[in-house]
């Protein structure tokens, strides 16, 4: 064994030195070489020449590789970002991943714009808009806006894009973004009228986030495939190079229209590379190969804080975490049908401690099942279930389970959080067994009614309206495993009421009802950690959207 030690010790020493002085290259190879020669000295044999040649070869390889690849810096005005997942298509209507949304917001514009701080709607490609009736909106369009390929933006762009993507035949990936659109008509060159299938108060939210506008002529000619190969929008950045699955290069759009609520781009070039492995991404920012990464796990982000050249920031996201409880007739866990058991579960979990120790900064504790920034989401009037294991045990005893019970919990991400929850449940006697699955497999299981407790998360597809969250789990959709008709009635009312006061009231009542009956356990929102080079000015927003136009060099 000592022979292995011989080799392992210098390796170990050098690898752990990233916080201390970095050994020079020569010193390192020198050490390897001295080990090799020491070992070859142990036996003087004729073949020692071969050993010496080997050592020399290794040394030579070492010095031959000193050619320095270019590292990122602000000198070449290029921000390098790494992301773990490549979008299936850059056309915003044909992907459903976060990086797709980030690229969309920087390369394209939408009719409306929602200020991320005040949540107020402003005109973007539309100068103004008005609600004609419950189902009709009219938009006055901005004049003089040009697409990256020179095509002019006008009513045709809006009419063609929206009618195209709303047609189910064209298979837009995220149907809920467009399926509410009935038709869009041109009134004149700079005026369009949009009709929704039903009264749809969430329309403004979609029109300011996911529903981007394409150039009509170009899109008609090349379709989604061509749009993916050579993307064209009106946004502050234009795509200059795109290698699917590998990288995408954005350059500042110098002709970006001055009246846009998005700022003029300050950073000249942005290169996004797709690096699937988180550890590799971290190595890239540490070595200066990349300037910006996101979704860094909490513990690793905290370690990176000690690096002098990096800044670590955390922000909230729209993604909420909660536990669903299956109380349908065929539930595998009939215990959950007892409201006292459900309340016992809520009282058993110390959400504050989990948020502080595991979830991380920027997270918010929830008391209702919706994203707090969403229009219509509120926890006013909803009961707060404090951490109280004694009360939890008492409730369980009252329900007839003084010794607790066994139950399954199904989860698909943030496993450490599920494990913490399981520990808390165990402490009051609820022996939860973890069933950790892929998302699709978990969803199959829930929809088949075979899940008991679920550790769910939901990101609302960036839509800042409660119609994109609560109804998914409580309006008798496939993911609804509680099915209270009263809750559904209230949510339906909210979804279809244009008057905002009556609408919010309906949602509030539904949310309170869910909380009072403890139909689900609201937990927390997920924070996101960003690690960036200190050279970059960067502000995280609660919607997890990276706005390159908002960033600059220090």
């Amino acid at each position: 064994m000592e022979h292995r030690e011989n080799l392992a010790v210098p390796l170990h020493l050098d690898f752990s030195l990233d916080q201390g002085p970095v050994p020079s290259e020569r010193a390192w190879w020198g050490r390897i070489a001295s080990h090799l020669t020491a070992f070859s000295r142990t036996r003087q044999r004729p073949a020692m020449g071969a050993v010496k040649t080997l050592a020399a070869a290794i040394l030579l390889t070492g010095t031959a590789l000193t050619a320095q690849p270019a590292w990122a810096n602000k000198a070449d005005d290029t921000l390098r970002m790494a992301y773990d997942q490549a979008p299936e298509s850059v056309d915003p209507y044909y992907n459903n991943v976060r990086i797709g949304v980030i690229i969309a917001a920087n390369v394209w514009d939408t009719l409306l714009y929602r200020d991320p701080l005040t949540n107020e709607y402003k005109g973007q490609l539309a100068k103004s808009w008005k609600q004609i009736d419950d189902k009709t909106m009219e938009f006055e369009l901005r004049q003089g806006v040009k697409f990256h390929n020179g095509e002019e933006f006008d009513a045709d762009s809006v009419v063609y894009t929206l009618n195209y993507v709303a047609d189910p035949k064209n298979k837009a990936t995220t149907q809920q973004n467009v399926r509410w659109i009935d038709k869009v008509e041109k009134i004149d060159k700079y005026k369009v009228r949009l009709t929704t299938k039903e009264p749809f108060p969430g329309a403004k939210e979609y029109l300011s986030t996911t529903v981007v506008i394409h150039p009509a002529k170009y899109y008609a000619e090349v379709g989604p495939k061509g749009m993916n190969a050579k993307p064209v929008g009106t946004g502050p950045y234009k795509v200059t190079e795109y290698v699917p699955g590998k990288s995408i290069t954005l350059e500042a759009n110098k002709d970006y229209f001055k009246d846009s609520p998005k700022a003029q781009p300050k950073i000249g070039k942005v290169v996004i590379r797709f690096i699937p492995d988180r550890q590799t991404q971290m190595a890239e920012v540490i070595s200066g190969g990349e300037d910006f990464i996101m979704h860094v796990p909490k513990d690793q982000a905290e370690q990176l804080k000690s690096m002098p050249q990096l800044q670590v920031k955390s922000g909230n996201t729209m993604r909420i975490v909660f536990m669903q409880m299956n109380i349908l007739d065929n539930t595998p866990a009939p215990q959950l049908k007892d409201e006292r058991v459900r309340k016992a579960i809520l009282h058993a979990i110390d959400r504050e401690a989990i948020v502080k120790n595991i979830v991380g900064e920027g997270a918010e504790i929830l008391n209702t099942i919706c994203t707090p920034s969403q229009t219509g989401c509120t926890d006013e009037g909803a009961p707060v279930y404090k951490y109280d294991p004694e009360l939890s045990k008492k409730l369980l005893a009252e329900a007839g389970y003084p010794n607790g019970f066994d139950i399954d919990i199904v989860a698909y991400r943030e496993r450490n959080q599920t494990e913490a929850i399981i520990n808390y449940l165990q402490a009051v006697g609820i022996r939860a067994k973890l069933n950790f699955l892929q998302y699709a497999a978990m969803r199959d299981m829930i929809r088949a009614g075979k899940a008991s407790l679920t550790h769910q998360t939901w990101g609302s597809n960036l839509v800042n309206d409660v119609s994109a969250s609560t109804p998914v789990y409580f309006a008798f959709g496939n993911d609804d495993i509680t099915r209270d008709p009263k809750v559904r009635e209230l949510l339906d009312k909210g979804d279809k009421t244009i008057d905002s006061k009556a609408r919010n009231e309906a949602y509030k009542e539904a949310l309170t009802m869910i909380a009072e009956h403890a139909y689900a356990a609201p937990l927390w929102s997920l924070p996101v950690y960003y690690v960036a080079s200190k050279d970059v000015n960067f502000t995280p927003y609660p919607d997890e959207l990276v706005r390159f136009w908002d960033m600059s060099w220090k």
Binding site: L7, D18, E88, A283, A441, V472
Partner: protein, 305 residues
Amino acid sequence: MLAFMIRRLGLAVLVALTVSVLAFMLLHLSGDPAVALAGEGARQADIDMVRKAYGLDRPIVVQYADWLWQMLHGQFGTSVYFKTAAGPLILSKLQTTLMLGVSALAVALFISIPLGVIAALYKGGFADRLCLAVAVLGQALPNFFFALLLIMLFSISLRILPVSGSGTWQHFVMPAIALGYYVAPAFMRLIRAGMIEVLAADYIRTARAKGLPTGKVIFKHALRNAIVPVVALAAVQLGYLLGGSVVIETVFALDGLGYLAYQSITFKDYPVMQLIVLLLSVLYVLLTLAADIANAWLDPRIRVS
């Protein structure tokens, strides 16, 4: 010889078929592909639409038979994730993976030949055991972990190599080492055993007796003979390296076949995954066949029997 080759080719087809059936079943067992394709926000109506659009509503046997039929007609299908033709997509990634595989093989030989020779020369001694330790370490270290160690050394401490990507030859150095080191022990053992056997042979004694320099005896007379089985193993290992590059390509963000395989599994892109599995199993069988032929060609004793 011809009958032997035909038999092996027939076997190749059977292996490829079996692998593709298994892959098809596994993909469907790990959750409904339609749900995965429709994405997180999809409602039942969307999922049903996706299921119909991609023909996922048909019985799985029918789906498989249909896929096979298309394959036989040169229709390699369309990637359901990237929405481009699967054939060209895979071909475009093959180059990176071949480059990685070949350079990893070179690294493996570069490590294992000297180590194998040294181990044989000092059989039972300290150097032999040290070489064994190096070999054991190579197989015992999970290659993603070894890859991270390489990154820490070359990119963070020394700053001489880029962490990830596939733009220049520098990008291939660490992946090739990480992948090559993992297969090196197999070669080393083979060379060591071969060398020990050859060094004990009469003609080596003769060569030494007539006063040839030791180096010449070792490299010209002994190694040449000991290396014959290595050629065969190299062909087989190349097949393994091409398939085994999934993890390494993912760690180093190399845009090759392995990374594409990883993505296609994640996104349930079954046309792409099926095609990769098929391609790799065919390649593997062909390489094994090539190894057998090379062996027969190099070693007359095999040819005769």
